[in-house]
């Protein structure tokens, strides 16, 4: 009897191994599906195939004249794809024609009514709407003319994230340096889990705390007008990002070989000098990764900013103005949109942008950490 190998030796084992392998691909498949399904909903906007114009450039055809149109002309008039058109019966088509007529009748007498506000140039660039004396960036999806400029939201997200990082990065890095290099091991065993406890506070609770307690406190201190603003949201957001930055930076600092510190101490440096001049420079990529991942966490956080930022979509770089972020916009508005409508699709587009940004931040952080660990471990041996 010859020596059997591979699947012939133990078919059961072979099948099990392949199944286990297939299941282990789930995480990868999910990332792929998230990408596909979020961008799929945003695709008509991305490709500029969607129109939000309130009035039609073509003349309105009353439903009674439906039979005078060829089916192809009718399909184009209603703006349906052939597949959608084939799936609808006569009554539905008639209803759609009536709807079209009603929309045309209700459309405001406004030069902006014929504008497709869901097109790229209106999403990204300022436009002089009726009643304004200069071009502006406006996000105002629920109005007669749907204004979908996403610039105020992007600025809002960046502004709150910046505040969050300015607040969290110095604190988290200092604490990481202290816990990993300077504190006694006994103290370290207490402090580390305590800071990790901060990560366990649900973001909705941080949002609540920002909204109810911190907003009042900060308003009393700074005396600004708008109670909820980018500063309040940013600091609450910083509390959410802080544990992430801390644990990654702490991990990177701890992974620097002990021999580095010992050599420095033997040469007569103080613990602080060893930590600041030897360990920190060796772990700089890890610190960068911590900041990158903290950025990803902060810009993607929803509940904190939804509750504590005030949610007014004004384009302003002032920290004391009420602010609306990308995440809060999606959370607040998606439930009220028409399924498959332009507003719905633009919110998915925002989601896709968010996904892309955090994906890149995470990828960068991840690669840097892996290279750092490889380098440090390589040097140890």
């Amino acid at each position: 009897m010859g020596l059997e190998r591979g699947y012939r030796a133990r078919p059961g084992e072979w099948i099990a191994e392949k199944l286990i392998f297939l299941v282990s691909l789930t995480a990868m498949v999910m990332i792929f599906l998230i990408f596909v399904f979020v961008t799929r909903e945003a695709l008509p906007i991305l490709l500029g195939r969607m129109s939000s114009a309130a009035t039609l450039e073509t003349a309105v055809i009353p439903p009674s004249q439906m039979d005078s149109l060829s089916s192809e002309a009718l399909r184009q008039y209603l703006g349906l794809t052939p597949a959608e058109f084939a799936g609808k019966d006569r009554e539905t088509l008639e209803l759609l024609m009536e709807l079209k007529q009603e929309i045309a009748a209700e459309a405001p007498e406004d030069k902006d009514a014929t504008v497709n506000t869901a097109a790229w140039r209106y999403l990204l660039f300022p436009y002089q709407w009726t009643g304004y004396d200069h071009p502006v960036y406006i996000w105002q999806p629920v109005s007669a003319i749907h204004k979908y400029n996403i610039v105020p939201l992007i600025v809002g997200s960046l502004k709150t994230t910046l505040v969050a990082l300015l607040f969290a990065v110095p604190l988290a890095l200092a604490a990481a340096l202290y816990v990993s290099q300077l504190a006694s091991p006994r103290l370290k065993e207490w402090i580390k889990p305590a800071i990790e406890l901060l990560a366990g506070i649900p973001s909705v609770v941080l949002g609540f705390f920002g909204l109810i307690v911190m907003a009042t406190f900060l308003q009393n201190v700074f005396g600004y007008a708008s109670r909820l603003n980018a500063l309040v949201a940013g600091i609450a957001l910083g509390l959410a990002a802080l544990p992430v930055i801390f644990s990654i930076a702490e991990d990177a600092l701890t992974s620097v070989p002990r021999t580095y510190t010992e050599a420095a101490l033997a040469l007569g440096s103080s613990r602080w000098q060893a930590a600041w001049q030897i360990v920190l420079p060796a772990a700089v990529p890890g610190v960068f990764a911590a900041v990158a991942l903290g950025f990803g966490r902060a810009i993607g956080e929803t509940m904190v900013v939804l509750m504590a930022s005030g949610n007014a979509s004004i384009l302003s770089w002032s920290l004391f103005d009420s602010t609306r972020t990308i995440t809060a916009t999606i959370a607040a508005e998606l439930a009220e949109t028409v399924f498959g409508g332009h507003h719905y699709r633009i919110l998915f587009l925002l989601g896709a942008v968010l996904f892309a940004v955090t994906f890149l931040a995470n990828l960068a952080g991840d690669l840097v950490i892996q290279r750092l660990k490889k380098r440090l471990e390589g040097k140890r041996s």
């Binding site: 801390f246 509750m307 968010l354």
Partner: protein, 307 residues
């Protein structure tokens, strides 16, 4: 003699102060919640429902929210644990650590952990509700005008959360599997057990505490998440408890959001708000605490094994 190093002393103190500040903020948050929340907690508050008025301090209870949150996280563990554990088994027991596919899987796990929770909400809406649920409706109930599966529901919220917490389970299980000494596996293989038998009968039972840790951490993470369930299942108000997988549910975290942003009179509803927050925080912290205890035991074991 060397003079006292003021710079080192000062800088060490500064980093120590930063650490202290973080701990102080944590203490303030928890203290504030405990102080204002505790008076609101009563048996009626925990066991009562919201039939009469969810904004009325004297009548509102949070039992439906506790029920909804529990239901969604328990369902979630059923989906996430098997997939997470099998992935971890593949990564530690089968995969070559340097092969490209392993690195891609690891990268995907890390990246999944960083996807914003609101994007999971969009994904749940687009994929689970629109694609899977809508597809099931079209397939099984083509004549039914009202969607049965293609709408926000308990099951879709749980599945969305399962995708979100998958990395948590994978990472925790992997750590537990690595803590098991190689000698144990080799002894089993030497006695003639196959690789699969070794994994099922030796490795996994020994890793059970670690798998539990992963599950508990996933539950505590998911219990407090609101953004992914906003569109996939949470309801503002429901007269009854959810009865089937396709029902919507009320939720503790979402209730905190509703109470703090939609209340007609925030000062009057404040006690309910604080009470609900306290219950939510106590729940997630209790879970975290158990996970930390188990994990500390595993880490001690790991150190004992690998030296």
């Amino acid at each position: 003699m060397k003079s006292f190093d003021w710079v080192s002393f000062f800088c060490t103190g500064l980093t120590g102060l930063a650490t202290l500040l973080i701990l102080a903020i944590l203490a303030v948050i928890l203290g504030n919640i405990a102080m204002h929340g505790w008076p609101a907690i009563s048996w009626r508050f925990v066991s009562g429902g919201t039939e009469s008025d969810m904004f009325d301090v004297t009548k509102a209870g949070i039992f439906p929210m506790i029920f909804g949150t529990s239901a969604r996280v328990i369902l979630m563990t059923i989906f996430v644990i098997p997939v997470g554990v099998v992935t971890a088994v593949y990564l530690t027991e089968y995969a070559h650590t340097t092969s490209p596919i392993t690195r891609v899987i690891r990268g995907a796990v890390n990246n999944l952990a960083g996807v914003p929770s609101i994007v999971f909400g969009l994904f749940g809406l687009g994929f689970f509700i629109g694609f899977v649920g809508g597809g099931m409706d079209a397939l099984f109930y083509p004549d039914n005008p009202r969607p049965l599966w293609g709408k926000a529901a308990l099951i879709w919220a749980s599945m969305t959360l399962a995708v979100m917490t998958l990395p948590v389970v994978i990472v925790a299980t992997e750590e537990a599997l690595r803590a098991i000494p190689l000698g144990l596996r080799e002894a089993s293989l030497a006695l003639g057990a196959t690789k699969l038998q070794t994994i099922v009968k030796i490795v996994l039972p020994n890793a059970l505490p670690g798998i539990m840790t992963g599950g508990i951490l996933a539950v505590s993470r998911a219990a407090g998440e609101v953004a992914p369930i906003l569109f996939t299942g949470a309801a503002y108000f429901m007269a009854d408890l959810p009865k089937s997988l396709t029902d919507q549910f009320m939720d503790l975290g979402y209730h905190v959001f509703v109470l703090s942003t939609q209340s007609p009179n925030i000062d009057k509803t404040r006690p309910i708000l604080y009470g609900t927050v306290l219950v939510l925080v106590a729940l997630t912290f209790a879970l975290n605490f158990v996970a930390i205890l188990i994990r500390a035991r595993i880490r001690r074991h790991l150190r004992a094994v690998h030296g």
